[in-house]
């Protein structure tokens, strides 16, 4: 029998393929709930989930909130700008105080890598990492894998190209761990300043030309250019970046005929992906990813609150 023998979901790196499969299978069953007229099941009645977000988020926070609500849990959102963080409270003090209010799960996003791991060792509650710095974003990788499995019927044996700012992307890192574990061939491409040092240690092939990575790919995953980091001088200009690394009709033609295009959002139209590709329902699965995100997060909340562990 398989089960999620974990207190926390901190990253894909520590997960086994069995655990990933269990989460994806569970999420697949939850997809149907979001199509009902009454989008709610009573499973997590009386459980509380705190979303503690120290960084901006639309998709992930809304998705976790809806996931909790559709399972009948009570969800509370805390964002740094409206909390005592502005009064100077430390992360550890905030966590201890939240712990004292007895929630069941704390979902945390923080700009510092390792912040969720710090909390996991500190409080009894389950911690879900909703993105820590440039480290991991496990629920995003899981929803990406669910989307790939839904569209392609499998993950093993597929060629997945991840394009963009690999070095600063937690989405890339979690996906590289997850997709490699599930048997996909992962290649990455980006300007040399955006490739992590010792990128080969992640078990992927790295290119500096988009075309080389995209050739014969089954899945192309574009990453967001993190405009908030632009001042760190990792590329000369947006326009120059777009000329070399923007996914368009021409370079997408090098991929397999039935290629799917993914993006974790929010998209910068015309920078990393041209609008006609992003909006083309025959290849773009960007909105499927968002839909699957709710189901994956329901699965995580459900599996973590199981008793008998």
């Amino acid at each position: 029998m398989i089960k999620l023998a974990k207190k926390d979901i901190l990253g894909i790196q520590e997960m086994t393929t069995e655990e990933i499969t269990l989460i994806l299978d569970t999420a697949e069953s939850f997809l149907e709930i979001s199509t009902r007229e009454i989008k709610k099941v009573p499973t997590l009645r009386g459980k509380s989930v705190i979303n503690l977000f120290y960084e901006a988020s639309t998709r992930t926070r809304t998705s976790f909130e809806l996931a909790g609500k559709r399972l009948s849990a009570d969800t509370i959102n805390i964002s740094a700008s409206t909390s005592s963080v502005v009064k100077g409270e430390t992360l550890i003090d905030t966590a201890r105080n939240l712990e004292a209010m007895n929630p069941d799960i704390i979902v945390i996003r923080h700009s510092a890598a390792g912040a969720p791991h710090l909390l996991a060792g500190l409080v009894r509650q389950s911690i879900i990492n909703a993105g820590d710095g440039a480290h991991e974003h496990p629920s995003q990788a899981l929803l990406d894998m669910l989307t790939i499995r839904e569209k392609k019927g499998k993950i093993a044996g597929l060629k997945v190209a991840i394009i963009g700012d690999i070095a600063h992307s937690r989405v890339a890192r979690s996906n590289i761990y997850g997709l490699s574990k599930m048997g996909a061939e992962v290649v990455v491409a980006g300007p040399p300043t955006m490739l992590p040092r010792e990128v080969d240690k992640l078990g992927v092939r790295a290119y500096t030309k988009l075309e080389e990575a995209v050739t014969d790919a089954d899945v192309v995953m574009m990453l967001r250019i993190q405009l908030e980091r632009e001042r760190q001088n990792i590329f000369p200009s947006l326009r120059e970046y777009a000329r070399h690394y923007c996914l368009n009709r021409l370079n997408l033609g090098l991929a397999k005929k039935d290629v799917i295009v993914m993006h974790p959002g929010p998209i910068n139209r015309g920078v990393e992906i041209s609008p006609d590709i992003a909006d083309d329902p025959s290849c773009s699965v960007i909105l499927n990813q968002v839909n699957n995100g709710v189901a994956v997060r329901m699965a995580l909340l459900y599996l973590l609150t199981g008793g008998g562990q």
Binding site: M1, I2, K3, L4, L22, D25, T26, E28, S29, F30, E32, I33, R36, E37, I38, K40, V41, P42, T43, L71, A299, Y302, L303, T305, G306, G307, G308, Q309
Partner: protein, 182 residues
Amino acid sequence: MKAKKTLKIVMDSDGIERCLTRIAYEILEKNKGMDELVIVGIRTGGVYLAQRLQKKISAIEGREIPLGMLDITLYRDDIAKAGKTSPPGKTDIPFDLADKKVVLVDDVLFTGRTIRAAMDALIDFGRPKMIQLAVLIDRGHRELPIRADFVGKNLPSSLWEEVSVNLYEKNGTDEVVIVEEK
């Protein structure tokens, strides 16, 4: 999983077939035909029985009766205690339940808690006109005020016995057996 010892075969393949045929006619008789009638099987055993009932009823009436399947894991009252060992199955009810007469189908009726969960789940999909219950085996020991409308066989049993319905679709053989853990 512990090994199970078969104590007694209660019903064989022919017995199950005859029970289902009789139940199919009883459902049609009680509902005076199949207008507004739908069948919903409870995962997993109930789904196979529901599929067989669907075939029989459709054959008798000459048109297809709608069939749905229901997974009740998310509605269980012991979900916080029972460790979650396998992912919940899919629920698939491809029709509107409002004002329908629903025949719920399960293999064994025991404490009644599964049926309570199934009724809650059904009502989340709409307001059926009526819910009826068909089971292959009623083994007693109810913990909730629930009874079946159509019963294949009443099987008085002890609490330490386990009644298991093996079906061709799931186990490769059709039989109802009483087993105990070795």
